[in-house]
Amino acid sequence: MSSDVYIIGIGATKFSPSTPEFSFKELMYEAAVKAYNDAGIDPRKDLDVMVTAAEDYWEGISIFDEYVPDQLGAVLKPVFTVSGDGLWGVAHAHMLINTGQFDVVAVEAHSKASDIVDIQSIWRMALDPYIHRPLVDNVHVFAGLEMNIFMESLDVDRDAVSLVVSKNMGNALGNPLAPYGADVDPDMVNESEVVSYPLRSMDISKYSDGAVVAVLASRKVVEDLGVDAPRILGIGWVSGSSYIEEWDFAAPEFVWRAGQLAYSMANINDPYDSIDVAFIDDRYSFRELQSIYTLGLDNGYSLNELVYNGVTYPDGDLPVNPFGGYLGCGYPLVAGGLQKLYNAVMYMRSGGGDVETALVMTRMEYPSPSAAVAILGW
């Protein structure tokens, strides 16, 4: 099927390690005001559906969707919550508009990670209570396992992985919304503390607080407003097994399938040729390379070559996370996908029309077996 859904506005707060002065409602309000202003709409009149992405235990409030409508201009409107990441919210918004019943649908996600006293204890509650909880205290253990198999299977150098950290934190230096910009050389990563071998502390994105709101609309609205807005060419989301032991850690099938769904909707046969820039999962450094490989964005390069030849650097052939990714902007929990979407839209707008196609991808995190991919074009 064809996709006729556009991103007519997007807004984000700064991403920060902590935001003690604001409530989550106030962060959401800021992002919403920016997004509606960017889109040129009045939510009270123009908004048809509001989608929020949230998980109760990240918020510390059960049935969290109770607490969203007022600060989003969505009181007494159709509002609902999708569990997990905001990119799945975009998938729902896309479907809603394609029913022909709705013209303007907004998607919100935020993080107040700094409100959580011990975040690993919350991650742990996502684990299977029967087998994994008694065994695992820290979900980074799974990242270590995944990283080890991935590097081994695809013959990836430690330095290539460390260069991802150095690139992304370096890229964040130019991003005013990113808190973790730094000039890091690979040796610093190589010598950072081992968390779960081969995973080291600098391989792990730090958390950030922040909120993002995206406004999606039908072609009719875009024509009425007379604006040039990026279109969602394709979107795919797929889940695998909730039993982590069953995953293919080298190249998870659910990531591959999510990509295939998006590519087929967007009529993309050769992803490397078609995609100009990618905003992909780098919650853990190695994930950026793994996602490039799994989504077929490697163009036959070995992953080592890809990094050493500078293909994924901002001036390379396929810039990846040019605004800093999670390593540079921080990992805002369920707002991760929308943070990447925000960066993608900003990148496309600043490209003067040269950037024709951007890919946005994220995963929910362990033990979640889910990935989503969106492809934007003009």
Binding site: E21, S23, Y29, V33, D42, D70, V75, S114, D118, S121
Partner: protein, 170 residues
């Protein structure tokens, strides 16, 4: 039609017949109350109730928020409201938060504060009210006044108000 599913009784569980694993969630949070509610709590400590006004639609909100729920504009004007109000609805609770039985019934109510827009109520307890005045609905629509904790005991919490009690009317 026989549907799938295998019920068991609590007695089976207590008798150890149902295998289980036990886990106690360690979920702790420090909620940032934010700009609007920080001020609200600070004022409670002083023995005052503050609301906020949206100058676009004129609504006075209690509890305050930095945005207008209905016109989506920023709210901009702090307004003290009175610590008296009208009982919108009231009930008598015989159970505590964990479903355990309370020793003494508790009357709770939604109170529309004087000075806030009509319908802008808050939840609180009522004191010196006979449960019969609730079940007979005599208390509905009656004016009540906040009974505050002594100043030195206030912490900047909704519980700085102990309860609301009926205002003697002639």
């Amino acid at each position: 039609m026989k549907l799938p599913g295998t019920p068991y009784k609590n007695e089976d569980f207590k008798a150890g017949k149902i295998p289980y694993v036990e886990d106690k969630p360690d979920a702790r949070y420090q909620f940032s109350v934010g700009i609007a509610m920080s001020r609200f709590l600070e004022e409670l400590r002083k023995g005052k109730i503050i609301g906020i006004k949206c100058i676009h639609c004129g609504r006075v909100y209690v509890p305050p928020r930095t945005f207008c729920s209905y016109c989506f504009k920023p709210t901009s004007k702090w307004v003290y409201v009175k610590d008296t109000g009208i009982v919108n609805t009231a009930v008598v609770s015989y159970i505590a938060a964990d479903r355990g039985r309370m020793d003494k019934p508790l009357v709770v109510a939604v109170i529309e504060l004087d000075g806030a827009s009509p319908g802008m109520g808050i939840l609180h307890k009522l004191g010196n009210v006979d449960p019969e005045d609730v079940t007979s609905r005599k208390i509905f629509g009656k004016r009540v006044r906040a009974v505050w904790k002594p100043e030195e005991e206030r912490t900047g919490s909704i519980t700085d108000i102990l309860y609301f009690e009926p205002v003697e009317e002639d």
